[in-house]
């Protein structure tokens, strides 16, 4: 059968293997499968390794995620070592993971990502110095690869790696309690970045920890902008209520809590009911990703927002790109090859495509349910803030005291800022420029005075 296929496929090029001929015709996905079948039981030479790298350059490594460990071990390429290292990392076998990440060549396209994960391994082992060093190396390597890359999507991938390494540095500083230093690191991420909407919340936490509740509230207000309406985090609502609570602005805190309970919570419950019905579906979440915005709006605005966020992930771009390329290969084989070749390759390609669809479906499902599972936690924390507010208000009544300052508009005198933070007065500027630079100027209301007429 093989010789017949070879004959059909390579009528013009005898003396070459089937995988070589498939590669020549740019059927990379079919060639990859044949390549493994041809070379697995043979001695692996330098040329074999180079060919595999070349094929993987076109197909990506996503296909190899499910391949046997022993098979991948046989081919000492940077790509296969990278996959194996990731597996060790996921299994928390950190020593092995470090060994394999270290084998990824520094000129290889996965080198920046390998450095990012190496830093993460050191972080998990509490080796902070090595972690920071690897994040810095990762930034340099990602910038270098970004400069070399041609396509916009590849450039974006390396930019994403660069920004994750920078953000993780800031997160490490936050974990160590170095909040000011972490804010300096966060400040290096430009507003055009894909990560920027996410780090607003993290910056707000850092300001909160420094006791600058006004700046934390100002940052969280950014999420109310129409430009960021796809970014909704229950944690941001919680932090808003908490910051008002720390300023003893109890009424404001209660407004945030009530709004959350009245507006968001019922919608979460409704959304969860719809999604749970399809939890075992193999393609519901995949299909969700390809619905038009109008179709999504019919079900719930939240779904649209979550799906938009998921589509911006690098993982989705890579997987979807693979599906698109497999589809193209199937079409070309059906159009250009004889029936026997079609039967031999299209079936395999269809199963590879199905695997990719299952993967996207699973990832989308995990992300959506991960988001939904964060809701009960923050609902319960908001409830605790509510109880604390009521308790404090009751204390004031029992002790015949009242808050010194009544709630009023903020004042510039209450705004703290570092020399790197802009100070806009909203006079003549474009409103979009100020996103992420807001600060409220509310005065803390925590001082109390004895209520007039008390004790008479």
């Amino acid at each position: 059968m093989k010789w017949l296929l070879l004959f059909i496929i390579s009528f013009s090029a005898f003396g070459q293997t089937l995988s070589e001929n498939l590669e020549k015709k740019k059927y990379y996905y079919s060639a990859l499968n044949e390549f493994f079948m041809e070379t697995y039981s043979k001695e692996i030479k330098v040329e074999t390794v180079e060919r595999l790298e070349k094929l993987l350059f076109f197909t990506g490594i996503e296909l190899l995620e499910d391949y046997e460990h022993t098979l991948l071990e046989k081919y000492p390429t940077s790509s296969t070592r990278f996959i194996l290292a990731r597996r060790y990392f996921q299994k928390k076998e950190y020593k092995k993971a470090l060994e394999y990440f270290g084998k990824v060549h520094l000129d290889h396209r996965y080198y920046p990502e390998a450095l990012l994960l190496t830093a993460q391994v050191h972080g998990n082992l509490d080796q902070f110095k090595q972690e920071e060093e690897n994040y810095s190396l990762c930034q340099k390597a990602a910038e270098k690869e970004e400069g070399k890359a041609d396509g916009v999507k590849i450039k974006r991938y390396y930019r994403m790696i660069y920004e994750i390494c920078l953000t993780n540095k800031a997160r490490r500083l936050y974990k160590e309690g170095k909040y000011k230093e972490s804010l300096v690191a966060y400040g290096q991420i430009p507003k055009q970045s894909y990560k920027w909407p996410y780090i607003i919340l993290e910056q707000a936490w850092a300001h909160y920890q420094l006791g600058d509740f006004n700046r934390a509230l100002g940052l969280l207000v950014t999420y109310k902008s129409p430009l960021l309406d796809t970014y909704f985090f229950p944690e941001a609502e919680y932090l808003t209520a908490l910051a008002y609570f720390r300023l003893c602005l109890y009424e404001d805190s209660l407004i945030v809590i009530n709004q959350y309970y009245q507006f968001y919570r019922p919608r979460f419950t409704q959304l969860e009911e719809v999604l749970r019905k399809n939890v075992n579906s193999q393609n519901y979440f995949y299909n969700l990703m390809f619905k038009t915005n109008d179709e999504l709006k019919k079900s719930d605005g939240f779904v649209e927002h979550i799906v938009t966020r998921l589509k911006k992930q690098t993982r989705f771009s890579l997987d979807f790109n693979s599906i698109h390329k497999i589809d193209q290969e199937i079409i070309r084989i059906q159009k250009n090859e004889k029936k026997a070749a079609q039967d031999a390759f299209v079936g395999h390609l269809a199963s590879v495509k199905e695997n990719m669809i299952n993967k996207i479906n699973y990832n989308a499902k995990t992300d959506i349910f991960g988001f939904l599972e964060s809701v009960p936690f923050f609902s319960s924390e908001l409830f605790k803030v509510n109880l604390e507010v009521l308790s404090r208000q009751k204390d004031l009544v029992y002790s015949s005291r009242q808050l010194l300052n009544t709630r009023s508009r903020g004042d510039y005198s209450n705004v703290k800022r570092s020399r790197f933070e802009q100070f806009w007065k909203f006079e003549g500027e474009f409103w979009g420029d100020e996103l992420g630079d807001y600060s409220l100027g509310l005065k803390s209301s925590c001082q109390t005075v004895r209520t007039e007429g008390a004790g008479e």
């Binding site: 490594i61 996503e62 990502e113 990012l116 994960l117 993460q120 972080g123 994403m160 790696i161 994750i164 953000t167 993780n168 997160r171 936050y174 974990k175 996410y198 993290e202 936490w205 909160y208 920890q209 919680y238 908490l242 609570f245 992930q313 690098t314 993982r315 890579l318 991960g370 924390e381 605790k384 803030v385 109880l387 604390e388 308790s391 204390d395 029992y398």
Partner: protein, 82 residues
């Protein structure tokens, strides 16, 4: 010794036969108190000041969540890559 054994067995027999007797307790069904006529012995004094000592209310503060790290975010970022 025999006398002692005899006395013990006599006592046990007596106790056992006593348990068979039915004891009926009766409580007063109605009792009237004439509070006006009650006399309290001792010195009558009027309280000069509130005699209850003031004490602080016990406050139970809830442990409100404060983020310690962004480890879950780091994990998610890595997963979002591939």
């Amino acid at each position: 010794m025999k006398i002692f054994a005899f006395l013990v067995s006599f006592y046990i027999f007596g106790e056992a036969s006593g348990q068979d007797q039915k004891v009926i307790y009766q409580y007063k069904k109605y009792e009237k108190f004439d509070l006006g006529n009650l006399e309290v012995k001792g010195q009558l004094i009027a309280p000069g000041d509130i005699s209850v000592r003031e004490r602080d209310r016990k406050r139970f503060e809830l442990d409100l969540y404060s983020r310690k790290d962004f480890d879950t975010f780091i994990k998610k970022d890595i997963e979002s890559l591939r």
